[in-house]
């Protein structure tokens, strides 16, 4: 195992910064530093531009309503787009500088597991709070807590149409002749918890969707946010995979907790974690170790995160995963020692690389295998973008950046190419465009 500090910074972090060099010492020191990040107090609040405090769900929904009721003159950007932009830049300012990049990698992983996308308009005004209140506080807690927080957040309820799902036999359903929308119910079972391998049926999906009815979002008046509308709730017991739940709001949390503790859920999460942090096709032993921890702790995400850094396959071989554009862009800006003022450029760098922030195509989120990201023009666009970044930071010493970011992970050809480049900027482009830098 060579340079555990470098491996830790790229595999579990967002890449080193000049003020956050790789941890010196061996694997023990590197592991201890990662675990310390998990135990560290939360990063300080970083309100978006023009906000004194971090905005709430109610703030976001109010902005959306204002846009609908009092649209700005044509040609003026929507308020919600301006708000989204400020939120996105605040998020990236945090990521560029965060001293707890392992924690933020987990935040990004779980946010992708519980995908919400700007393809549903309301997410523009809710994504910032979603990360702040539904994801970040829960990434080292019980999975049930994360699941409940994510599912109950207005971003998720609106993205997966739960707000328009009505129990057909509820008071409102009978009056309005409206009915179920199974979108959220199906994705919870398929993507967030059990996965299809658990063998649930369409009837399970329908029953679970009935169980979720009533859960919705108050968008029009204070207090704006998640609500339970008893008049929309399907009466009667519901049976999901043989487990029966009584009618009422309490069954929603009860069902989510039950799903969170299901063995199929633990296997599903273990596979996804291993694919993200270990390898595209993770060794079964690695998956099994993670699964074992989730099973034995009842889904403790802190415990499974700590286990991740102990899996030998997560350290060897190094650089086994291709960096998705999100990781690549952040690693590049961090390598350059960028300050928060570069957040806008960093966020915008995701667009040409095919991973625009908070905009995955479907509820299954961004893919997590190299084959899904590597293609010819995409690779050229990566190189072009890295060249653009090297132009902005052309005074950043390329040899220092090489030692900082790759150190002994750099191949001899990469080291020579950087050393022998015809200018510092070209050396930076070669470093950021090297095969090693494309990996983590």
């Amino acid at each position: 195992m060579i340079s555990a500090g470098h491996i830790a910074a790229v595999r579990f972090g967002l890449g080193p910064r000049p003020d956050q060099p790789p941890v010196a010492g061996g694997p023990e020191e590197a592991r201890a530093a990662l675990l310390a990040q998990l135990a560290a107090p939360p990063d300080q609040a970083m309100p978006p531009r023009d906000w004194e405090q971090e905005p709430s769900v109610a703030d976001g929904l109010a902005i959306q309503q204002l846009d609908t009721r009092n649209p700005l003159p044509p040609g003026t950007p929507n308020r919600r787009v301006a708000f989204y932009t400020a939120e996105a830049e605040a998020y990236f300012a945090r990521l560029i500088g965060t001293p707890t990049p392992f924690r933020e990698r987990l935040v990004a992983f779980w946010a992708n597991h519980f995908t919400v996308s700007r393809r549903e308009g309301a997410v523009f005004v809710l994504a910032g709070d979603y990360l702040r209140s539904a994801i970040r506080p829960h990434v080292t807690g019980p999975f049930a807590g994360l699941l409940k927080a994510a599912i109950r957040h207005p971003a998720m309820l609106l993205y997966l149409n739960q707000n328009s799902s009505v129990g057909p036999d509820s008071a409102f359903g009978r009056r309005s002749r409206r009915g179920l929308n199974e979108n959220l119910g199906r994705e919870i079972l398929e993507l967030h918890t059990l996965s299809p391998e658990a063998g649930y049926s369409q009837e399970d999906v329908t029953e679970f969707s009935r169980l979720l009815t009533g859960l919705g979002v108050e968008q029009a008046r204070d207090p704006r946010g998640t609500v339970f509308r008893a008049a929309n709730h399907q009466p009667g017991e519901k049976t999901v995979l043989g487990k029966t739940f009584p009618p009422g709001e309490d069954s929603i949390d009860a069902a989510l907790e039950w799903l969170a503790s299901h063995p199929a859920t633990h296997r599903h999460l273990a596979r996804k974690l291993a694919r993200h942090f270990v390898a595209d096709d993770p060794p079964p032993e690695a998956v099994e170790r993670l699964h074992g921890v989730l099973r034995d702790t009842g889904g403790d995400l802190g415990a499974v995160s700590r286990e991740l850094v102990s899996i030998p396959e997560a350290w060897d071989p190094p650089l086994g995963k291709l960096r998705a554009p999100f990781d690549l862009v952040l690693a590049a800006f961090r390598a350059m020692g960028a300050g928060p003022e570069r957040a806008e450029m960093a966020v915008n760098s995701l667009n040409p690389l095919g991973q625009p922030l908070w905009s995955p195509i479907g509820p299954n989120g961004w893919p997590d295998r190299a084959a899904d990201w590597i293609h010819a023009e995409g690779m050229m666009l990566r190189i072009d973008r890295m060249h653009m970044i090297s132009g902005v930071f052309s005074r950043r010493d390329a040899r220092e950046a090489l030692d900082l970011t790759l150190g002994p992970l750099a191949s001899e050809p990469t080291r020579l190419a950087v050393m022998r480049a015809a200018s510092n900027r070209e050396a930076l482009t070669l470093l950021l465009g090297s095969p090693e830098f494309q990996r983590r």
Partner: protein, 396 residues
């Protein structure tokens, strides 16, 4: 004829005097502009241009022996260099510069070097742009802006960087403008080639880079497609357009890479020299009447080895060539104190020896062209007291 030329000693002999006789009327028509309206453009050739290829001393009897396949035929022969007055010849891919020479507007400079004796691109470029023998946090052209006569706080920014990057030469306390064309700033064909080389063995990124380059029209030899060749030409034309306007920027810097010709030098140089030639001519055309008040200094961080290496290329050397051109330049001659290429004359037995510090040329331009007071010239080039500003660079 070269064999009859005397060995040229350290006398600052100006070659190509005969060309002065050919000056046309254009020089008179352009004339000098109003006081304080002169323009200075600095073009940085990053990667170390081979001065002996760009400005070949075909009259030096040692040349062919040292250069072998890299030595081009003498003037008048097929593929021969373009004569600069009997001893030096311009690379045949610089025909527009040669026409400027004929018009008295180009002064090639040879056996010149910046303030470095390092053969590291990074260090040498930094020192060339710092204008000092150690790295400084600001560039000499930025410091020069502070001393521009008539320069007032808060007035239009007289200095401009053309391109996506602010080079060190223009960094510093004086605010400068930046102009970059909307077209994305992509790596040069040469840099793409290096990236391909770096990635080619990788099972994931290698095929993707190779296929991506092919799809963009690069062939196996990474020859740039026509639309990719124009980068520098476009930048230079933009510089000309901006600086042509009355009250426009007076000082600009731009750069062009692709000079680090360790192998297959003949091929690599042809393309990049043609870009330089086209670009400088585009600058001239776009400047219009302002060309008459313009001086352009084209320089590189160091020259390359006197001898050809084992790959038909050259390695990092010391002295090399530079160009001074513009309607304000007293051109039509070569500025060189030629040290000769005989074994004993080479610097460390391998490089063309430097006989001119380019800071002398730059100081001359700041003083006589931009009209900087002596103190401001000294502030632009700290610690260069022993290097006297060159006189006679500009038309009277």
């Amino acid at each position: 004829m070269s064999g009859h030329l005397p060995r040229i000693g350290r006398r600052g002999l100006l070659l190509g005097l005969s060309a002065l006789a050919t000056l046309g009327r254009s020089r008179l028509a352009l004339g000098a502009g109003p006081e304080g309206d002169s323009r200075l453009v600095v073009v940085l050739l990053r990667g170390a241009m081979d001065g002996m290829a760009a400005v070949q001393p075909y009259g030096d009897p040692e040349l062919v022996g040292l250069r072998g396949p890299l030595a081009l035929p003498e003037p008048g022969q097929e593929g021969g260099v373009l004569d600069l007055g009997g001893f030096f010849g311009l690379h045949p891919r610089l025909p527009k510069l040669h026409a400027m020479f004929g018009g008295g507007e180009l002064m090639p400079i040879h056996a010149a070097c910046g303030p470095t004796r390092s053969r590291s691109h990074f260090e040498a470029q930094d020192l060339m742009e710092s204008g000092a023998e150690q790295r400084l946090a600001s560039g000499w052209l930025n410091r020069a802006l502070a001393g521009l006569p008539g320069h007032e706080e808060g007035a239009n920014r007289p200095g401009f960087a053309i391109g996506a990057d602010l080079p060190l030469i223009l960094r510093g306390a004086e605010p400068v403008g930046m102009y970059a064309p909307a077209r994305p700033d992509r790596p040069s064909p040469d840099l793409y080639a290096r990236l391909l080389e770096l990635n080619h063995a990788d099972p994931l990124t290698g095929p993707a880079v190779a296929e991506g380059l092919r799809a963009r029209g690069f062939t196996a030899g990474v020859v740039p497609p026509p639309e990719q060749r124009g980068g520098f030409v476009e930048l230079a034309a933009a510089a000309g357009r901006l600086m042509a306007a009355p009250g426009g920027p007076r000082v600009a810097a731009l750069e062009i890479g692709g000079w680090d010709t360790h192998n297959a030098q003949q091929n690599r140089l042809r393309s990049v020299l043609a870009q330089l030639d086209d670009g400088l001519d585009a600058l001239r055309l776009r400047l219009g009447p302002a060309w008459g008040r313009t001086a352009v200094l084209v320089m590189t961080e160091f020259g390359r080895t006197a001898r050809v290496n084992g790959n038909d290329g050259t390695d990092h050397g010391t002295a090399g060539a530079a160009f001074l051109l513009g309607g304000a330049v007293a051109g039509g001659r070569v500025l060189a104190d030629w040290p000769g290429l005989a074994e004993g004359r080479l610097h460390e037995k391998r490089d063309l020896a430097p006989t001119l510090d380019l800071r002398a040329v730059a100081k001359g331009l700041l003083r006589d062209h931009l009209g900087l007071p002596e103190a401001a010239v000294a502030a632009a080039f700290p610690g260069s007291g022993s290097i006297e500003a060159k006189t006679g660079l500009l038309r009277a």
